[in-house]
Symmetry: C2
Subunit: 80 residues, 2 copies
């Protein structure tokens, strides 16, 4: 079972990486870029679990390791 965990910085937390990408895009001539936010996506291949259990397990992994809950939010999506 493949599960995707997306980890993004919470709103209001400064995103220097996003700012840098925004400036670089402008330098390359892309206009109209109002905001850029960068996050992580972690694709987990879990063996021997059904969708619901996989979703729960990935959430637990996010809370314990994948996301820093002080500054990041996470979302879990069962892909296949």
């Amino acid at each position: 079972m493949k599960v995707r965990v997306t980890v993004m910085l919470k709103d209001g937390v400064l995103d220097p990486q996003g700012k840098a990408i925004g400036h670089a895009l402008q330098t390359l001539g892309f206009d109209g870029v109002q905001d850029v936010r960068v996050g992580k996506v972690i694709e987990l291949d879990l063996h021997g679990v059904k969708a619901e259990e996989a979703h729960e397990k990935a959430g637990e992994m996010a809370r314990n390791l994948l996301a820093n809950l002080v500054i990041e939010d996470y979302s879990v999506e069962v892909v296949a």
Copy 2:
């Protein structure tokens, strides 16, 4: 218009970050983790464009800056 660009390593490209997360999850007692792949997600807030144009523009940004096309694949999704 919000567009999400997801950048993942191509299949077959070694993912040391994914391996490290896999080992860490095992150490924390999560069994059944067969594979872990890590990628980037970039959320772009584009001003004054419709969905189709936003999708095209984000694809161009991915090809020019956001993804290293030698080792990475990207996907574009118009979010809102």
